[in-house]
Symmetry: C2
Subunit: 454 residues, 2 copies
């Protein structure tokens, strides 16, 4: 029997998170106050986040200990399996060796609980009674609901009304874990009521949902806000993925030449790639790390490196990021988790410094890749995850063309059980390409008032 | 950190299936020809099943080797994890130790691929080009689609039209793995066309879908039929569950006093329980094995032990089984996998001989148990799986009342990702009890022409 799967015991769940900032020569630039344009300190984040998470957000320490209580919950689904993709290799007739790390085994079905659990934990430690967040398709909202339920913290999720109506099952999942889910805009907040008064029939947006969740946290002592990607502490928590993968690749007697992950705000990419970048830093290795984004939202491949807001309405600090402009509205692709205008600051600096790479795939190519994967490896991937598969397939085909064998590892960041509508649309021929013209990108960026960073 | 999860490496996937018939003092009675009422031999099954599966169906050998090719595909999700349910124990404040084996990690989301994979394998070995089957809610159909896809066999699934329309996502899942799915009754078969001519608006039934799938197999040389429960070879294949669990319980330094599994046709119950019954046979242990069924379909707790048809229309051989009568129509509970009028012959004989036990739970009790489980252990269970949880909770409460600690193990046979509508109904107060009166059961059994077996 071929060895298809490399598993670890729960004793092998990492004991520390890896903070890549410690190893970066060019540290990320500081966030700026939206009004004064001056660098802001950690205190500015205190109304929204518990102090321990703020400390992690600005930490320069290389390793940060994972609390036992967090590792204990991680053990529900961690360590996650790492697979050799024999079926996919055979179908591609490639000399490449392809591996994937599978994060869909978590109760919420993706990598998101890797950070929702520590976020809920640190909030609980500081006596917080309620956590609010926004969610689009529902992956992040359900991960936070799962975590808050464990720590007996109230969870309020503001879910974009369009998704709330179109994807009721993610909402029921959150309810099952005890969370309250509001269609956003809602009448639970001032921001929501104002927008509803102007346009009672609006289907909402992620920007509006963020405003509602942030308002609830800012207005209530016992309430904080949680974010599922972009921020440094979120990326930090996700490094358990790559740390496990390093050990698993060693057990397989192999090491990747290329590491690939889908890219939305950067958290699942960071999770897999940063611990391999550490090997580049510490051991002088030369592992290529590739972020894979949709052509409909190409901030890494076609955006600019500039200070921009994290949210649509401009309430957050200005962050140094690759961006398409905070007013950019991506096409309504099924990979909702990749529809974000900007990239987190660490990943942006790494790309600027050419320490990582980025590629983009169109919507049809990724679904072809997803169906090929489902039929050769058995697991039906989430639409977000198909982007990493598409890059892995492209690299494996290059190996065949060049007649060389390389070892490719990608992050299968979630399963598609809640996304079968996407596959139904694909089989019905209702998936279309969403390629942006240069004019469209230029127009979106023209609204940005900040200069490009040299 | 507490040890929550016991995992095994892929090298520890069992190498043999356990055939409990070899250890039974009272062997199951033979199947009878529906016309002559005489015992039938293996040849009678040849039009529907490949010879290797028929040999397994009638085998008296205690151990049957699992082909390497099957173990290789098993390794996509096997060995499955075994968990200590610390969260549930704490919530129940019970001295009992509760463990569960989790089969929801398979690509199809339940234990069903444990048998669909070997069934597809043996069909492939004998040159079969197409396999047909019926499915209700879609668990079995998607497991067979997954397996056929791997072996490049065409898969035709006749899906009860009501479910086909109500649960489109299971259908899309089957399509993703390349299967053709027909709403049953369909115009692809004589049986379907006849019923459609009589009643064009019928929503179908499992009985009709079986007739269509069987007709396609009987009429075509290169086509066979596959069943997802009830038959001996199906139960045989599922024993990988219990064999792994025995090893995992030993690794946990523990052994169950009570083993529990939900009961539809008997396959997931057999899968977990038979290898523990083997310990009773071989080592003189006294492990109680409890089958858990819905009060709306109580063949084990309120049915009779009698020869009856396996299907609704009376095409199959007569089988010696606990039954509610083959015309029995269970209430439309969400646990579609438990809505079967009879029990497989091996389990029926074991119950008759008091080697196993059975209990029933009402529909509200099982959803309460399911939500309690989701909130304490994190995993949202399939409606079928909630029945085993309800029994485990009842036994853990007994431990508390009696002030004794017992070790309880149950089979969490699938996740609820495709069943969120059921939880939505539960939270909305739309789940109702379905208790049968004695008169209803008597009326259903009155149509049976065969005498009770002494």
């Amino acid at each position: 029997m071929k060895h298809r799967k490399i598993t670890l015991s729960e004793q092998e769940i990492p004991e520390k998170w890896y903070n890549i900032i410690a190893d970066m020569t060019n540290k990320p630039l500081p966030p700026l106050h939206p009004g004064t344009k001056e660098p802001i300190g950690p205190d500015a984040l205190a109304p929204l986040f518990p102090m321990e998470l703020i400390k992690q957000e600005v930490s320069g320490e290389k390793w940060i200990a994972i609390p036992d209580e967090v590792r204990n919950i991680y053990s529900i689904w961690r360590p996650t399996p790492l697979y050799r993709a024999y079926g996919l290799e055979k179908a591609l007739d490639t000399p490449a060796k392809i591996y994937y790390k599978y994060e869909g085994v978590s109760p919420a079905g993706s990598h998101k609980p890797n950070t929702s659990v520590p976020q809920a934990y640190y909030n609980k430690q500081e006596g917080i009674k309620r956590i609010t967040t926004e969610t689009g398709a529902g992956q992040w909202g359900s991960a936070l609901a799962f975590a808050c339920n464990h720590f007996d913290i109230d969870c309020e999720v503001y879910m974009v009304k369009l998704s709330y109506n179109q994807k009721p099952y993610r909402k029921v999942m959150m309810n099952t874990w005890g969370a309250k889910v509001f269609p956003s805009p809602s009448d639970a907040t001032e921001a929501g009521r104002k927008i509803l008064a102007q346009d009672p029939d609006t289907t909402g947006s992620l920007g509006i949902a963020i405003s509602e969740a942030v308002e609830r946290a800012a207005m209530n002592e016992d309430t904080k806000y949680a974010l599922g990607s972009v921020l440094n502490h979120v990326k930090l928590h996700q490094t358990v993925i790559g740390q496990e993968a390093v050990v698993q690749m060693e057990k397989a007697g192999d090491m990747p030449d290329i590491v690939i992950a889908p890219f939305g705000g950067g958290s699942n990419f960071a999770g897999l790639a940063f611990p391999f970048l550490r090997l580049n830093f510490d051991e002088g290795r030369n592992i290529r790390c590739i972020a894979s984004e949709p052509t409909s939202c190409p901030k890494l491949t076609r955006g600019v490196f500039r200070y921009d807001f994290g949210d649509t309405v401009g309430m957050t600090p200005l962050l140094p990021m690759y961006t398409l402009g905070h007013n950019f509205v991506p096409a309504p692709i099924h990979a909702g988790g990749l529809r974000y205008h900007g990239a987190g600051v660490i990943v942006s600096q790494l790309l600027k410094d050419k320490l990582i790479e980025a590629v983009a795939h169109d919507n049809i190519e990724v679904f072809e890749a997803g169906v090929t994967f489902a039929r050769t490896e058995g697991i039906i991937p989430a639409p977000e995850a198909t982007h990493g598969i598409a890059t892995a397939i492209a690299e494996a085909k290059k190996c065949k063309e060049e007649g060389v064998s390389r070892t490719i590892l990608f992050n299968l960041c979630g399963h598609g059980n809640f996304d079968m509508k996407a596959y139904e649309d694909y089989f019905a021929g209702n998936i279309v390409r969403h390629d942006l013209t240069s004019e469209e990108i230029k127009a979106s960026l023209a609204e940005l008032e900040t200069p490009e960073i040299e």
